[in-house]
Symmetry: C2
Subunit: 364 residues, 2 copies
Amino acid sequence: MKRRDFIKTAAALGTAATLGGCTREQIEGKRAFHTSRQKRVKLKLATSWPAHFPIMGTGVERFAQRVKAMSGGSLEIKVYPKNILVPALAVFDATSSGQIDAFHSGPYYWKGKNPAFALFSGLPMGMVASELIAWMKYGGGYDLWRELYAKYNLYPMMGGNTGVQMGGWFRKPIKSLGDLKGLKMRIPGLGGEVMARLGVNPILLPAGEIYTALERGTIDATEWVGPALDIRMGFYKVAPYYYTGWHEPGSVLELTFNKARFDKLSPEHQAILQTAADQLNNEMYHEFLDQNARALKKLKALGVKIYNFPKAVDEAAKKAVMEVVADQSAKSADFKRVYASMASYYRLVKPWTDISEARYLNIR
Amino acid sequence: MKRRDFIKTAAALGTAATLGGCTREQIEGKRAFHTSRQKRVKLKLATSWPAHFPIMGTGVERFAQRVKAMSGGSLEIKVYPKNILVPALAVFDATSSGQIDAFHSGPYYWKGKNPAFALFSGLPMGMVASELIAWMKYGGGYDLWRELYAKYNLYPMMGGNTGVQMGGWFRKPIKSLGDLKGLKMRIPGLGGEVMARLGVNPILLPAGEIYTALERGTIDATEWVGPALDIRMGFYKVAPYYYTGWHEPGSVLELTFNKARFDKLSPEHQAILQTAADQLNNEMYHEFLDQNARALKKLKALGVKIYNFPKAVDEAAKKAVMEVVADQSAKSADFKRVYASMASYYRLVKPWTDISEARYLNIR
């Protein structure tokens, strides 16, 4: 039976039951039914991504479809791409105030509100996606994130992960640490702060202006995400040196709700949103894996070559990360506390990753 | 409001509406309600694990709780540990025949029915968990698995992943390929077939007999899963050489339903089961990661040392895997077809894993 027909039939039976002056349970005898008169709820969710943006945008759309299906239509999430209802980077405030009910974005965007928020996206040279997820769930990460977001009337859940991001596209090869000196590179966040300590001049540019800036030499390099999203930007045509990365080793995306609104939802709807968000978080990671693999193959066919930074750059970056962490920790007690939790979990999990996934990927 | 109170209130309001001869919608005016008269369904699910078995067993119990919460109690899954309703390895047949509705186990257990089924658990020296999941979803793996299981009236979903398993516990160190010759090792599945080609004598033993056999020297080595489950078996006391692994690089566990039963469920219940299974699949992987890390720390505190097989063993194992694959492919057209799909996806995904996760884990 189609869903529409099922609803019609149920409604018709309901009317008959009422007319007869007795309940449906009485009419149907032994057939046990659960009467769930679930209040119909509609939630507005805005993203920081363009309409139908691959993986990040389409993933959220599938999430909304799943929530609707699981709730029998009683919970509808209307997804608004960036700048339709609120500007891309106004989603945090709009959800905090209750103008909208939820948003999909990345916690590093809100480091201006609290430097600690950047850490919930991950740390350069730090944990990979699987380790960050385990930290959130079993290492205290979620507790800290939810405590700090509660001050903004927000309830965050992980809502996707990019996996290890590429280091970026360079117009000239980087053969030594010295080659980074004075380089103008579009790179935001903690990665930008680390690069700055290696002599790079980090630039912020809107997405639509990066290609032209790179083509004209206004900038010398840019990072983006990974092959799947990078190939669409065409950077390979003007900055052919594609470097592997360490500045975003598993960026956590977020699906965050207005806390008061979420708390008022029924236990069913809360359970549906929790489960669907956790499903989305992992599905997006695996879709990135698949799409990056396919796009890498295409980029190679287009002649793109992959390079690794020299060892001296990696080592200098590790030192710079610790400097950035010390700096931020001195300025922000929240940053210090969240970093301490992350660092403690990293010390726990890394020895296992080293002898399992890392070892195996080297020998297979 | 507590769930119980909510149901009571709704029932009371429902009665009032019936008595007044009009619907609740009419009484409540503007408040829109969705009437979902979801049929109450109870499903019996048997596992191949003991009651409350860590991670694998407890994960399935949480899955059942989530399904109940999401469905507002209309979908209940009663979880039976092994040997309560059906023997541990009879769950496939019991679900196929409709004696029970679903099971949680591992596809390698059914290779006697079809050699290809072993591949859905993964391949020695093959893909890791994230790659296997991407293959299932985006590379044709699920299509093949569901096509082959449909012949048994079964509908499989992934229901967990162990991550990279350890190579096992050895009474003496393995310093050369020659040290494996004649070794009696408890190791099942394709891993056992590969080890046999390296000179090992693979033994099958019930879980309860392994420790004593190892202690008495009846066997020289055993593999199990990873630190979290291994530590409970006490193997470190009698076989102190703990080796890293390649024989089960990301074993897929399954949550499989009787197909006819699943097809008859409402679209809501189907969506709830699909989403909850996918959530479980990833949650179990991350719980293994966390628990393995914690147990490894304990094992090290107990003095356990970690060893890698010599390079000659790794290389001989890779060759042996290809021989086993050729052998099985010659005997089974299904094995050949599933392996071809896996191998094709491995060639696609490995170059990306190599420059992202694998590269990054080496330099961080």
